[in-house]
Subunit: 239 residues, 2 copies
């Protein structure tokens, strides 16, 4: 089966000879995990990183009052905790939002890449930096936008990210999130998520039934979201 990470990096720059093989070499053991399973626990000292081969996962922080804040959502091909390679200790846990297939990559092997493949190193670095850009987009959404704008922004983002890995079907995509989960992502209550969602539906911007979302009016949606896709770096550049 193709390595979705390669596809993701190739979308940002062309891989040099040997880099593809180097990536394939380090992805060895893979395993599945169940919905809700915590793949990586907060504050653990890590010596491997997790590559998401299939499914949806989230990085979550839990507050003392029991509230859970999801700080990142990951899709097929994402290196969920590549940052732990240099961080060693992670500031959040990683939880499966659907059943997932994952591979563990030893930090020792990543270190070898930094020793031997500088260009590939820059591309891996890039993917952690894109995660940062997404964090910033969420910060701007939470700090400055209405709940509707925030939700619309999240939908736009997920659509482009899923499209980039070929997981969209025309204007539709599968987003397997419950409304309470959306609340944890957006920092809203599930009740309010429900009402805001109904607003987007009655404005004929989206259809959302079961877990299938259809975007009926991309322009309208991006307008209410104030969405500018530049931060996702979906362009090839020499890096």
């Amino acid at each position: 089966m193709p390595n979705p990470l390669i596809q993701k990096l190739e979308a940002r720059d062309t891989l040099l000879p040997g880099e593809r093989e180097a990536l394939e070499r380090i992805v060895v053991r893979s395993r599945t995990c169940r919905f809700g399973e915590i793949m990586v626990r907060e504050d653990e000292h890590l010596n491997e990183s997790t590559l998401l081969l299939q499914g949806f996962a989230a990085r979550a922080k839990t507050l003392r009052n029991g509230k859970r804040q999801i700080v990142a959502v990951h899709v097929t091909g994402d290196f969920v905790d590549l940052h732990s390679f240099v961080l060693k200790r992670i500031d959040h846990s990683i939880v499966a939002l659907t059943p997932c297939r994952i591979a563990n990559v030893a930090h020792r092997d990543l270190e070898a890449i930094t020793e031997n493949f500088p260009h590939l190193t820059r591309l891996l670095w890039l993917s952690t930096v894109i995660d940062g850009a997404i964090h910033r987009a969420w910060l701007a959404a939470m700090g400055g936008r209405s709940a509707a704008g925030q939700l619309a922004h999240f939908i736009c983002e997920m659509f482009l990210r899923l499209k980039a890995i070929g997981h969209t079907d025309g204007n539709s995509m599968v987003l397997p999130f419950t409304q309470p989960e959306l609340g944890d992502i957006l920092g809203l209550s599930s009740v309010h998520v429900n009402r805001v969602l109904q607003g987007l539906r009655s404005d004929n911007l989206i259809r959302w039934q079961d877990q299938s979302i259809t975007i009926l009016d991309w322009d309208g949606l991006t307008r209410t979201a104030e969405f500018d896709p530049t931060y996702l770096s979906l362009q090839k550049e020499p890096r």
Copy 2:
């Protein structure tokens, strides 16, 4: 004068022979910029990164309604837009919150570091990843905490970051931010920042006069902030 970046990296891992010199070699031209000056403009295509030698700077996004959201605050020694090295195009502008002294580092020179100094490359990578950890802490603060908790969290963070570079004096630090600026950082109105600040003062957690903040009760402050400093990675580790 000492290079504050070296001090910052040394706090996270020990530099190998030659790395310090390599860093000093790439920091050549430096210049000052005025308060409010925009050092780097959003969406520009960049071929150099900005090292903050002195002063405070912010990364800011502006929304259509004119609201400004500050998504990161930087202090002396921070590589304000190191991420532009792999990103090439930046999703926010960078503005001086005080008069600053900055140095521009050519991406060509950074590329040379990734070719010749893998360990140093990992440390530079690390600093962009720590920026990401700070973004996540802010996300959790905005999504899950009250305004008072959020402000307390920001104060705790700034105190430790300034302490790490020797810019604190006992329990005091200079934070040259106006209340409207704090509003832009926290996603609150300046009026509300004022009231929340008064709350922290009347709880005897901090004193804040002019731009000098004294922390009167660190335990109490971290408790209202739910502050856990792990995310700042202020520990030496082999990376």
